[in-house]
């Protein structure tokens, strides 16, 4: 076996983003046992830092031992039971995936669909919820990684607050990078990922459940279909009686702790501002070079800029050359815009003018 020696890539795709050396060093710390009281104390610290980042006081806030899609599954399997109604909003890959996951829980899935690249019409969602007051949850993606659209959700949360429905929000590409206020926006359930704006390697999915959601889960008539993701048992490991459930991915949690510590040092507001500034700089320069935006004006997601390259550019060819000849990764389009757009992430560590400049310099070689 050859020694591990991958090239050093500037990760400007839809995630993973580049990771701070501090996080990488933390991950290489020899592990404690998963039942060691000192590891338990560290788990508590991680949960509190996650609460601060989600802007919530939800007790049930912790990282699921899997990647973002495991977090998605954890939120649906715990809240839904067979026969429940789930309203799922779709304007990209991850809304589509949520509908698939909800269906696998045996739910009756009612979709509210919108155009890729456009935000969903909140009024249309509210009307669907009014027509389905028995919906167990309403699920929406805050930051659609497949399109680069930032969805306004506060108004929708305000409406759902007064109903029996749970408000479930995908925050995979917004947590730590754009304004996200779980409590103020009345979000009941949310899942995220570590490899986007947190700049921690993939492998954990921060989740949070409001007291309203926990009550719904505690009153389930049926067992959660996933043992691994069953919140009633996870609650007893991450809090409560500290009962053994599964062996936590200790070194990943070391890395997450360090990443969250870096965010706390910088401050959430400053970090969000840094993402916005970098995205504005990149967007202006790309426009000057003949690129045009895919995501609707006023709804662009700062951590992820989706653009149509200038007429005549070999969209996929240049993207591949950026990787092979410049060690720069940029994301491809998916679904209806496969081969048509690039998805450029300036996330976490990479949300800065310097990294944007490196990419812009490389692109100029193809203009």
């Amino acid at each position: 076996m050859k020694e591990l020696n991958p090239p050093q890539i500037l990760l400007l795709g839809p995630g993973p983003s580049n990771v701070s050396y501090r996080v990488l060093r933390a991950m290489s710390t020899p592990p404690l046992g998963h039942m060691d009281p000192r590891f338990m104390a560290l788990m508590d610290d991680v949960c509190q830092m996650l609460r601060d980042t989600f802007q919530t006081e939800n007790q049930m806030t912790f990282p699921v031992s899997g990647t973002g899609s495991a977090g998605m599954e954890a939120t649906f399997v715990n809240t839904l039971e067979p026969g429940d109604k789930a309203v799922v909003c779709i304007n990209g890959v991850f809304g589509t995936r949520m509908a698939d996951v909800a269906g696998r829980c045996g739910a009756e899935v009612i979709t509210v669909e919108g155009e890729w690249g456009q935000p969903l019409d909140v009024q249309k969602i509210v009307e669907t919820l009014k027509a389905n007051p028995d919906a167990k949850l309403c699920a929406i993606v805050h930051a659609e990684t497949s399109t680069g659209v930032l969805q306004p959700i506060a108004e929708l949360g305000q409406f759902i607050k007064g109903t029996d429905t749970l408000f479930l929000v995908d925050t995979v590409t917004s947590l730590g990078g754009v304004d996200l206020q779980v409590d103020n926006w009345n979000i009941d359930v949310s899942y995220s990922g570590t490899q986007k704006c947190l700049s921690v390697p993939p492998g954990l999915s921060p989740v949070t459940f409001s007291p309203k959601a926990v009550e719904v889960i505690q009153n389930r008539a049926t067992k959660v279909q996933s043992w691994y993701l069953d919140l009633s048992m996870l609650m007893n490991y991450w809090g409560g009686d500290r009962l053994y459930h599964h062996t936590a991915p200790i070194n990943m949690i070391y890395g997450l702790r360090e990443g969250l510590g870096i965010i706390a040092e910088e401050g959430l507001a400053a970090r969000q501002e840094r993402h916005s500034t970098a995205a504005a700089y990149l967007g202006a320069a790309l426009t000057d070079m003949g690129f045009s935006f895919f995501a609707a004006e006023g709804h662009r997601l700062p951590p992820l800029t989706s653009v149509f390259p200038p007429e005549g550019m070999d969209v996929e060819g240049v993207r591949k050359e950026l990787l092979t000849d410049y060690d720069i990764e940029v994301g491809a389009g998916l679904g209806p815009v496969a081969g048509k757009i690039w998805r450029i992430g300036l996330m976490g560590e990479n949300a800065c003018v310097q990294k944007a400049n490196v990419l812009l310099g490389a692109i100029r070689d193809f203009i």
Copy 2:
């Protein structure tokens, strides 16, 4: 936030075991993107090394992006459909967990139960299978981490080979530490963990599926209830068309690659011999000090020695003092032997006389 600086613990419990510095260094390598062709090549290498370690030619061999229990769930949710019959053998915590997971898949679970600390009666299992020729699978634990019993399984595999039933085996605490021959023993489905005899931190679960199992999965009438663990999609990411499914836990896979490389260098047979030698040494010394074995003679699992401390010793008190005053972790008993036994792991890096000596020296202070 204080700098991460956990004490250095000698991990002689039921896992995690201590990790080689080579593995820790590999894990701190800056990540490639999960769709980068060079990461895909690395994935192929990891799958091949896993095949070598499982002693199988199964194409469908890869690490699930979660800990051992996620691997358990992956094997059951893919093979079982609602209404299927599942024969599950139980003589400890992990057999019990398998039955729970199978039930959550909507299966009719038929259990074959045995005493904790004793191997299961193979003849009794065969009779149960003869009475249930329509059983979709027969699940058994090769190395029961809760009791330290090594279950003979080759004869059972020989019987199941001629039937329509799938042979599903938990190899969490056997892979890389004791003789395990997936193909020769006719094992159709197996899952393991990284944090035991592989000496890689927890976070991944190696799994393998035989062509017979893959055929059963391809002929399913219903969708797999877990999106995250759906083999039909995972197959397309780990092999086949390389379609994006979820973001792989890249740095964990770097660590696994290094751990498997270390095993390849040592050689599987030499590694198993090392585990046996260390366990025999530890067992003899403990016997001299008045300890007695919990697991039945002839069925003791070398990586994990389960013992009753000598009469009069404060079982839990001494175990806690070993952790606080000697930085040595030893596992507690579970279920019917909670507070009665210790579970001592000499796994992976720790399967050597030196580590046994450190523990024995500490124990002498309490005799």
